[in-house]
């Protein structure tokens, strides 16, 4: 289980997780898009040796996984836990990931860039995530020579990452802003100040379960701390707006709100078939009900765990066999029922 699913961080009533990702490339190797399979293996070995054979404490904390040697369901589960990207999985024959024990750090090798350091923490912990990623970057840099240009900074395969190579993001749950319709204005404003808003599984995915991913778009011209601070400031404002909207809903429509939450809870606790769409919608209601202390006795980490356990690959992995869409919907309902039964 990944750290962000197991523990709760600051502001966890709204911020599910915080993430920092650094893109780095190594000199003397073409970028992954132009890399042969044998060269890609050389690079994996280089990165692996730096971490696992080096003189730092990282050596006992990390384990390496070559994606080629993993069953497809395992790879997909890592994507569902946000530990690797879909792009890394799509080139399994060339890629690898180094994971630490509590699954808060993943070092992806041969994604779009040679190295992508990701630090993923529960709640609102952007600065902490940056500090960790920064340190790991320093360790890697001691034995790897990065592609770096005096003017342009870290050179990356796609010019949208050039410079700092940093992508800072927060995963936020904004049900009240969605219900009250303010969300569109906020999303618009965010994009005007250089932030991108996406669905929970990254670029091009839908907004499901009122969960949004907000990240910086620009990587050049500002330093890492400024980029992180900018996202932090905006996120703090969004948190405040969401809390205000929640209070407004509570004072103006309390009974309707409670009714909706208890109905969603009832369905989750009793349904025999749950599609992923319906599940995410109901889970958003339950998450909000817990945050607003309308429904008690359920801890938020259970909600985060259910969100991942109800994903297609995770369902099939836990069932120990491939499942059709219908079978998955049935299994999803069973798992959710059991999770909620254990609590109440």
């Amino acid at each position: 289980m990944a750290k962000w699913m197991e523990q709760l961080g600051p502001e966890s009533d709204i911020i599910i997780s915080s993430r920092i990702r650094l893109a780095r490339n190594v000199e003397e190797f073409p970028f992954p898009v132009a890399l042969t399979k044998s060269k890609s293996k050389d690079l994996i070995k280089k990165v692996r040796d730096t971490i696992l054979e080096g003189n730092t404490t990282l050596k006992n904390d990390f384990e390496v996984f070559e994606l080629e040697e993993m069953p497809q369901l395992e790879r997909q589960t890592l994507v569902e836990k946000y530990l690797i990207s879909a792009a890394l999985m799509d080139q399994s024959e060339k890629s690898a990931v180094l994971l630490n024990k509590d699954e808060s750090v993943s070092i992806m090798v041969n994604e779009e860039d040679h190295i992508r350091i990701q630090c993923l923490l529960p709640g609102f912990q952007l600065t902490e995530a940056w500090d960790t990623a920064d340190k790991i970057d320093d360790v890697l840099e001691e034995s790897l020579k990065y592609t770096f240009d005096e003017e342009l900074g870290y050179l990356t395969s796609c010019p949208t990452n050039v410079g700092t190579g940093i992508r800072a993001s927060v995963m936020v749950h904004l049900p009240a802003l969605t219900m009250t319709g303010y969300i569109n204005r906020i999303l618009q404003a965010a994009s005007q100040i250089g932030l991108a808003v996406r669905g929970i599984y990254g670029e091009g995915t839908e907004f499901t379960g009122n969960i949004f991913q907000i990240s910086n778009q620009l990587t050049l011209g500002r330093n890492e701390r400024e980029i992180v601070a900018n996202l932090k400031d905006v996120t703090l404002q969004i948190i405040q707006k969401e809390r205000d909207a929640r209070n407004t809903l509570l004072s103006s429509n309390r009974i309707q709100l409670e009714d909706r939450m208890y109905r969603s809870y009832g369905t989750l606790a009793n349904a025999r078939i749950l599609s992923s769409q319906e599940f995410m919608k109901l889970l958003s209601d339950l998450r909000l009900a817990i945050d607003m202390k309308i429904i008690g006795g359920i801890s938020m980490d259970v909600i985060n765990q259910m969100m991942v356990m109800a994903q297609p690959a995770y369902l099939q992995k836990s069932a120990g066999k491939p499942l059709s869409v219908n079978e998955r919907d049935i299994r999803r309902a069973t798992i959710v029922r059991e999770k909620l039964k254990n609590i109440t």
Binding site: F31, D134, E142, F148, P159, T164, L220, E224
Partner: protein, 170 residues
Amino acid sequence: MICENCNKNTATVHVTKILNDKKTELHLCEQCAKQSEGVPFDTSFTINNFLTGLLDSIHDSPIKVDYIKTTKCDHCGMSYGKFKQLGRLGCSQCYNAFQEKLIPLIKRVQGSEVHTGKVPKRAGANILMKKEIKRLKTELEKAIRSEEFEKAAVLRDKIRETERQLHQDN
């Protein structure tokens, strides 16, 4: 129309196959079409495509000159045409090879062309020194202009010392 495969999503991809005079029709949703074999399907309109679409629209020249399409990166063999198609560069040398087009593009999407963030300690030691010299020189100019000659002398010595170090390292 509902997708014939998953019976769930709306069918947005319609395929008509004629094989040995036999006509078959297939109506699929985007997801199923991607997984289905024999259906040529590529709607991967990514940020990369979008980005490279901007490449040639930067210089609003009335005459389109395509000579740069033949440019190749000597180091990895990536052609400019291929970069436009993929939206990804083949190696760090590509930044030099396609500089003429790439720098305006970077300036346009990033709003800047100068990195001010982290510098790798090892690979960037020289760079840090060069940046320091640049900074000292601006200070020196300022000091001279405001006739603070004592301060200027200190700065001058600092510059000489840093330049000597840089020289040694090389």
